[in-house]
Symmetry: C2
Subunit: 331 residues, 2 copies
């Protein structure tokens, strides 16, 4: 049951040097004579010595671990973000400690506190909406935090996003240009920063600006089924242009429309604000707002590495470009 077979002390003894010296060669400190280094390395090799990262963490106060906070692993949006984060983290030799907070804010603060107790060197937060307690915890700690694909209303924390308002308006503009007047917004969590503080605002601005009266915002549409089932209401409301934030939802609406004999894009145009495989798979293929999710994650992680290294950030609020990619679900 001996977990730690061989410690730094064993190596020191075998190599006839002090632990300090072994520690130095393990950490690539170059204040070591070449022959000594080689001698130590030989022993390390022979004994299969592996440093205990927990002990290193305690002594050095750095765990080379970053915490990731997200709502749902199986949501492609977060999966893509995570991939960008993971790749950069790996590149900089950080491990990722995962924490999904489900879809509710319940216990978010406990989850975060737990992460902090594990002494992560930094945190990437990509949940939709930061709760008050969470924010307090983040403000109290000096562990750096970067938001990826979301932001806080006060811009208190560094973040990486796209210009959600502009994207929303551009998408709405396309629908309007195509002659659609009864425009609707379909979102998941209405309280999410991206929705409440961006999409809703942009939508209302747009509607006012173009003197469009029929405001339709549908919330809590998260799954394919939600989208499929929502179609009835959409039809009743005579909506002819839709922007859905998740593409599985958009796909559900599109399929329901097709099944009901409604022609896309003639009678109904659909734009998805996310862009995953699904948008290509559903027929007609969806016009989408292409968010550079991978890049958002990667940039966020890169920023975090700087912060963990006590470097300054050139820009604490990076906004990456999006593109509106037209496809068959709009004219």
């Amino acid at each position: 049951m001996q977990k730690q077979e061989v410690t730094i002390y064993d190596v020191a003894r075998e190599a006839k040097v002090s632990m300090a010296t072994v520690s130095r060669v393990v950490n690539g400190n170059n204040n070591v004579r070449k022959e000594t280094r080689e001698k130590v390395l030989a022993v390390i090799d022979r004994l299969h010595y592996q440093p205990n990262a927990v002990a290193q963490g305690l002594a050095s106060k750095r765990t080379t671990t970053v915490g990731l906070i997200m709502p749902d692993l199986t949501n492609m949006h977060f999966a893509e973000l995570s991939k960008g984060i993971d790749d950069i983290a790996t590149m900089y030799k950080y491990n990722i400690l995962l924490s999904s907070v489900g879809n509710t804010l319940l216990n978010e603060d406990q989850v975060i506190q737990n992460l902090l107790n594990k002494q992560v060197d930094g945190v990437i937060y990509m949940s939709n909406l930061m709760g008050e307690k969470a924010q307090e915890i983040f403000e109290r700690t000096n562990t750096p935090v970067v938001l990826a694909g979301t932001a806080d209303a006060n811009q208190d924390f560094p973040s990486v996003t796209i210009d959600y308002k502009a994207a929303e308006k551009e998408a709405l503009g396309l629908l309007l240009k195509n002659g659609k007047k009864n425009l609707a917004l379909v979102v998941g969590d209405g309280k999410a920063y991206v929705n409440k503080d961006n999409r809703f605002v942009a939508y209302k601005d747009f509607m006012e600006e173009h003197k469009l009266k029929n405001v339709h915002i549908y919330e809590d549409a998260r799954t394919y089924e939600d989208g499929y089932n929502l179609f009835d209401k959409i039809k009743t409301d005579k909506v002819d242009g839709i922007i859905a934030t998740r593409d599985v939802v958009a796909a559900g609406i599109a399929n329901a429309a097709s099944d009901a004999g409604v022609k896309i894009p003639e009678d109904l145009e659909i734009i998805s604000a996310a862009s995953t495989n699904v948008a290509k798979i559903v027929r007609p293929q969806l016009t989408t707002v292409q968010q550079p999710l991978y890049d958002i994650g990667a940039v966020a992680m890169r920023m975090l590495t700087k912060l963990m290294n006590d470097e300054e950030l050139d820009d604490a609020h990076v906004i990456l470009p999006y593109t509106l990619k037209k496809s068959a679900s709009t004219k």
Copy 2:
């Protein structure tokens, strides 16, 4: 820059007790008088004391962290597995340390070693094929390992799977019953345990058994585009029945077939061996082998908790039931 504001020692001093006592109340040890406990808890509360999990880990040799090894976060297959794992891990108060090993085996052993150095209490492995070095490392350590959705040829490690051979044969049987004779297998990694040691074997058995001559195995089909592009070859080979292991690939084939005017299921039947949203979204909807991915992950994690707790496993090789769910892509 003081990371640790308040330690157990501070609490001890303020509460006029020893560190040992504080430790006891923190860990819920009941050898503490009620009044003492309350006094200590009050101080903990007042000082916002949070235990340092790294120090706990070093002293107790348990990190309440498990390592997760998988190829790709953005592959729904692994995402679903992970969710099952994550939920159970959370339930048992474990955190997850993520390690994706890309699609190549390169450095897999380093990744694993790194995880082990961080003193994870256990590992869940769900990559397709365990490399030799990886296996050696796992055999040398006494950190428990459970395989989820895969297995090793020798059954050396506990695992949770479905009966891939039976599933394969049942699917092939359906195609044959529907009059298809030119049956093909489309897989991602041909060397993966699930394919090499199960699907290929079952396929060849089946073909022999039914005296079918035209063997078609297509490898390296991983993405929607791969599937779409593969269709040409499939057509040339006059294949009329397909089992694809990934549903995005199946969707690609289906869409390519539709675009080429090939009728599904009349001229071509398709079965997907995986079952995510995509199978429902593509038209015609795909007949799928429903793997209980979430459950596989959950059961694997549950087994791991037992192992980490030095409990015996009733069954080290759990096989969960699958179902063949017929839909529009087969008759």
